[in-house]
Amino acid sequence: MAMDQKELRQWEARCIQEEMPRCTAACPLHVDARAVCGHVAEGRVNDAWAVLVRTMPLPSVLARICDGPCRTACLRGEFGGGIDVAALERFCARAATKSPRMAPLPRRKGNAAVLGGGFAGLCAAWDLARKGFSVTLYGPRPAGRLAAPTDADGELAAALAHELETMAKLGVRFEDGAAPGVAADDAAGAARWLSDRSAPGDAGPDAAPDTFDAVFADPEAVPAALHGLGPADPVSLGTLAPGVFSGDTGSGVPASPVALAALGRRAAASVERFAQKASLTAGREHEGPVPTRLYTNPAGIERAAPAPEPEGGHTEETAAREAARCLNCQCLESVKNCAYLAHYGAYPKVYARRIYNNASIVMGTRHANEMINSCMLCGLCTELCPTNFDMAGLCLMARRDMVQRGKMPPSAHEFALRDMAFANGPSCALARPAPDGGRTELLFFPGCQLTASDPGGAEAAYAALRAARPGVGLLLRCCGAPARWAGREDLFAESLEALRTDWRALDAPPIATACPTCAATLRQALPEAEILPVWGLLGAAKTGEATESIAEGAGTAKSSGIAGAGAPLAVHDPCAARHDEPARTAVRGLLAGLGVATVEPRLTGKHTECCGFGGLLAEANPPLAAKAAARRAAAADQDFVTYCAMCRDMLARAGKRALHVFDLLYPRHADPAARPAPGHSERRENRARLKDRLLRELWREPGAPPAPHEAVRVRCTEEAAQRMEERRILISDVQKTLLHARESGAALVRADATSGRRLAAYRPVSVTYWVDYEPEGDGFLVHNAWSHRMRILGLDGREGRGASTAGDGPRTYGIGARASDQRGNE
């Protein structure tokens, strides 16, 4: 089921990338110092200034007097000294040549008075005016500490004059009296006015107090001791009198100018809430300095000394140098280390929303389908993320939801599911006790990708296991992982049930698997079975009662120059072994036993990277899978050694020299690290031939009779073979098409009639295949092949037939439904 709003919030809250950086969190006004630094470092002073103006009240003033509390919070502080943002603010205030236009919100019905022109009072009046209130500020301005002569050259005074002018333009009225009807220097009178105001009906002769909805008393001009309305509440700044707010919380007037500004801002927010009859306290925990969850990885940060502010202020050059020291704090821990997360240009929080939105679309295009289907489900992000964001869980949930609602694009996983059906079909699946009979003590489960990639290795491992112990049975089939990755829980359950039946029929022994994905999948889905990684058993067989074949194999490995000759190999842990520490250790032990020196690549063990196959990325988004494989290939300079056949092949396809452990245990190639990865058709052939051979040689049983199309002799030009591989067109698809053409006679011929080239089409199930070929002896030479999923219904207005007439089978592909005639249809 799709996630609801609440679940979305929970997912979003998990991702901390949008949390404030330390500087912003420490700033009482939450000024985006990171953005300011970014702009100044790039020489964009006006942009930096615009950031300040957007956030600060009286920016020309505050930028000149800010005490920069962010500096002590700055992460750079641990690497040379915190950024002096206050100095950069001063620089911006002086150097900016343009200020953004200041537009107040539309006038609202609300009158507010501010008693006292200290900095808090001025800031409160500023914010209130910008919120659209009618504001009257009473008393001299500036008052309090701001009135003390702080700048000899009058720069600050000029800035203040400028901002007072801005405030006037925003509609602030200035009254010299300390309060309505009170003399200019009569603070006590102002306090009295306030107190009077708190007693309704007892207002003085001047009726003005009642014309204000709310009043803020500047803490420097009208302290609590004078107004007698008690210390202000630190959250709302409210006093004993409703609508009267005070900056004096009883803990003294803040010395920090930016804290004073924040006090004024808090007061303005309270006045607004009061006018709206909203809660004065709810949801205000984000105001003022706050803790932040943003994590920035300090690894690799080099120290950088501050660029001190010269006498007379920063120049563009010194400011840029200081600003460039900003670390631009981000989390992105997962994004930095995942080709997939980086590819879609954002981070998990954004992706969670995209996924939510994708599921919410009723009419229109679901733009996130590809994104959802491109996650490798490898779990690296969860390991790296400081809060363990589980992108795999999120994407898998989304895929299942898409499947359930019939919104999963059929083309995304169909090829992989067909492959799974083939591996579980009569051509490949096999369940047998040990060839010499008896109770099955251990069941070898090589995994369908190992038998596809290296059937000889799987066969040798089975021989080694049988030599080392009695009663080793064999189970050839798929663990169901592709169905699970595709969100097809129905197919997964079906596949698992067949596997469970085979396993029980073979005395339900421990299962030794040579595939980390099978191990992880079966451990989770078949908890009643003991799942052992085969590596420990093979290692034990080798070091203990070493069998002849294994001893020979290891000996050859040592002498063949593949390994043990000094050049260490980088161990690539498959992502499925991320949480399988025993398997990771066993493989390293096995390699050590073979005398192979190993190194660890960048990101290893529980932090290993996916090869690009995980989660069916290679099916749903082949270019991104190639990118992921290339990224992993670059994680070590050495040749890789791994214990997942798919990882080996993905790395090999990325041009990386890579070995499977079986290449070392059972050497059969001169340079196995350069062994090409078999293509789609060859993988199927390998599985089918392995079953056939083992059945005949070990169990003395005949193999299954070949399907009619398998008798069609086909040769492909190099170009055609390459295209077929890219287009996921199998030799068997071509054979079926050609068989159909031969039997039906339906084909197109070249108009010039000289080339002998023909074109045939056939649609076995849900894809129409076109084959451009010519007869060659008793077979065919294939020049090209292409396919489409769209169905040809025929010529408009009459029952026509496409060149693909005969084969319009069921529209959707169902593995279970076709299992019985797999051989014929696959």
């Binding site: 295009t365 292409w786 489409h788």
Partner: protein, 71 residues
């Protein structure tokens, strides 16, 4: 249903082997994910055999298939 014309649909170069006649452009009904289109494609005027040229299958047709799958 108005008929869509696509530049990739080129009738030249192929003949129907069964009927021994040139293909001509004709409106052909196509279907995917429940959507129906009429597209002008090379077809045998006698038996109705249709040609989907490679550039069309891998180009516009693939695009439309993806679009419909994401609907």
């Amino acid at each position: 249903m108005s008929t869509i014309r696509v530049p990739e649909a080129d009738a030249a170069g192929w003949r129907c082997a069964c009927c021994d006649c040139d293909l001509v452009l004709a409106p052909v009904e196509l279907e995917y994910m429940g959507s129906h289109f009429s597209v002008e494609l090379p077809a045998c005027p006698q038996c109705g055999a249709v040609l989907v040229p490679e550039p069309l299958a891998l180009g516009k047709m693939a695009e439309v298939e993806k679009l419909l799958e994401d609907k």
